[in-house]
């Protein structure tokens, strides 16, 4: 049995869903959770339900907001005071930025962006995509402990941990140490939608959208089904959408439950970024578009006719 710490980020008072995905898969290990700042009793109970034993609320001057150095310093101080074999976190913007620095403070390794894992006799082995998802490989960590692992959001799925944890929460005083790179300002995105990498449903537009204004028909569809809108590289390079919306090898890698590709031809780089979506719907006027080879449901036709009809049909289905 391994001693595991799961580091969780908190967004709007709630722990990131990937934390619960990880906890659900740690059945048979001892799992604690660490968080910066406060967490209400309801959230602690949610963590306990998914198997968390102790919930450590790390607090100290300079930790009110994220900084790679402050968070890594404080977490390393806390981890050194315990005896963890493994430290998990989400492969989120923060996790990807901070965990490599944290692991290196222990001269330890980090297996990043794993999409599945097992513990055999208390030893971690993971699976992760490489070459933008064009292949998969087994990943193991060697060298000094603790070993660090980041997990891709939405990849494991929620699985109930049959054994609830005690979920006892306590404050822990930690020091942020020397912080040389600090956030002075956060410029909020114009969209309030869920980020592509965490979205459960994604509607993506390709080059065939023709211009930025036409993305409105995708927005309307997305509003009805609670989706986040993405774009192919061709659409981004043509100036129809910002790079933050790009799905594919040089954009975001996504794994939603439902992916609806509208006017996306399906270049190998795009397929690499979305092929692990659970169900794929493709709308394209070209019956030979490569996207159809990955689609569970392909609709050959003009997206400007099909998408509005689809929006109406979803409205009917969902009683909206």
């Amino acid at each position: 049995m391994a001693n595991v710490l799961v580091f969780t980020e908190v967004h709007d008072g709630r722990v990131k869903p990937v934390t619960l995905e990880i906890l659900g898969r740690l059945h048979g290990q001892t799992a604690d959770v660490a968080v910066f700042g406060d967490l209400d009793a309801g959230q602690v109970a949610e963590l306990a339900k998914h198997g968390a034993q102790s919930v450590h609320k790390l607090k100290g001057a300079g930790l009110e907001k994220y900084s790679p150095e402050g968070y890594a310093n404080a977490l390393s101080e806390f981890i050194k005071s315990k005896n963890y074999d493994y430290v998990f976190g989400g492969a989120t913007s923060m996790g990807k930025d901070m965990l490599p620095r944290l692991a290196t403070k222990f001269d330890a390794g980090l297996a990043s962006d794993v999409v599945n894992f097992t513990f055999d006799g208390g030893v971690f082995a993971g699976t992760r995509p490489l070459f933008a998802g064009k292949c998969l490989a087994k990943v193991e960590v060697t060298g000094p402990k603790p070993h660090f692992i980041s997990v891709r959001p939405n990849a494991l799925g929620m699985s109930p941990n049959p054994t609830a944890g005690s979920g006892s929460a306590a404050d822990v005083a930690v020091s942020a140490g020397d912080i040389r790179a600090t956030i002075k300002e956060i410029i909020k995105a114009t969209s309030t939608k869920v980020d592509l990498t965490e979205a459960n449903i994604i509607v993506t537009g390709g080059r065939a959208m023709k211009n930025a204004e036409n993305f409105q028909i995708l927005d309307q569809l997305a509003d009805v089904i609670g989706a986040t809108v993405g774009a192919s590289r061709a659409a981004v390079d043509s100036g129809f959408a910002p790079h933050a919306m790009q799905v594919g090898q040089t954009g975001k890698t996504v794994a939603p439950s439902l992916y609806i590709a509208c006017g996306v031809s399906g270049a190998i780089q795009h397929l690499a970024g979305m092929r692990t979506s659970k169900v794929i719907v493709a709308i394209n006027s070209d019956p030979d578009a490569p996207i159809f080879t990955k689609a569970d449901y392909g609709i050959v036709g003009d997206l400007f006719q099909i998408v509005p009809i689809m929006t109406e049909e979803f409205k009917k289905l969902l009683g909206k």
Binding site: V141, I187, L258, I299
Partner: protein, 262 residues
């Protein structure tokens, strides 16, 4: 001002990836190698800084196999002054690569003011090396940057996070920055640039030269395989406007009854 740019050579994005028979890595014999696309933004940013600070030097570093030196020559053709290559297998892990880069920087005898790299390499997609290197050199770092303003030693950079929000960081050189698409528009190498690049100095080291051994490996990959293929899906011809509503309604219905997703 000593600027270092870390680049990686990766398979072209259009390359079909085939695992080796024993699953230990991928077949590399017929791959076309290119400079990692994100590293182009790092090279460009270094050259933009050099334009404003003519005394600055730009040194490009790469850890990888020698097969060809496309990435380093491209960077020098774009305008970098010199290069160093640490010869290593293409499946080295992030920790070893970062340690080799650190060793290569030390070999130059120059103290780094600015270290730039792509935010991730599109082969192992680990997003680790710049941050590990920063920690090994005890320097601050910011990753996924899309904005860069340098005045003297003061830096203001913008980092892209979830949902397209931007974190604005203030820090000072020396530091490590990992660059994202959107930071700048990489220049193309000119013909004179390409000719000149052939004469620019390129140091070459072994892993042992820069103090890295197999015991530095922290992450092991094995059992490379292709992802499972999906069974063929259902395809509907909705080119006839009269049939569109019926077909779309059918697909939407299947998403609930068959795929159970809505």
């Amino acid at each position: 001002m000593n600027i270092f740019v870390c680049v990686k050579q990766v398979p072209d994005t259009e390359t079909k990836i085939t695992p080796t028979g024993d699953g230990s890595f991928i077949e590399t014999a017929s791959i076309k190698w290119i400079m990692n696309p994100y590293d182009e933004f790092a090279v460009e940013q270094a050259l933009l800084v050099k334009q404003l600070n003519p005394a600055a030097t730009v040194t490009v570093l790469r850890v990888g196999s020698v097969k060809d030196t496309e990435a380093l020559r491209t960077a020098m053709a774009m305008g970098a002054d010199d290069a160093a290559l640490v010869e290593a297998a293409d499946n080295l892990d992030s920790y070893s690569i970062a340690k080799a880069l650190k060793g290569a920087i030390q070999k130059t005898g120059k103290s780094p003011d600015l270290i730039l790299a792509g935010k991730q390499a599109i082969d192992d997609d680990a997003l680790q090396v710049p941050q590990i290197l920063a920690q090994m050199l005890n320097l601050p770092s910011v990753s996924v940057i899309v904005g860069f303003e340098l005045s003297g030693s003061a830096l203001k950079v913008r980092r892209e996070v979830e949902g397209g929000a931007l974190e604005v960081y203030e820090l000072a050189t020396p530091c490590v920055l990992a660059c994202n698409k959107g930071l700048n528009t990489p220049r193309y190498a000119s013909l004179p640039g390409i000719m000149k690049a052939k004469k620019k100095p390129m140091a070459q080291y072994s892993l042992a030269d820069v103090g890295v051994s197999e015991s530095d490996r922290r992450v092991k990959y094995s059992q490379f395989k292709l992802p499972p293929e999906k069974p063929p899906g259902k395809k509907f011809d909705a080119t006839d406007a009269g049939k569109q509503r019926e077909l779309v309604s059918q697909v939407v219905g299947l998403l609930r009854t068959e795929a159970k997703i809505i």
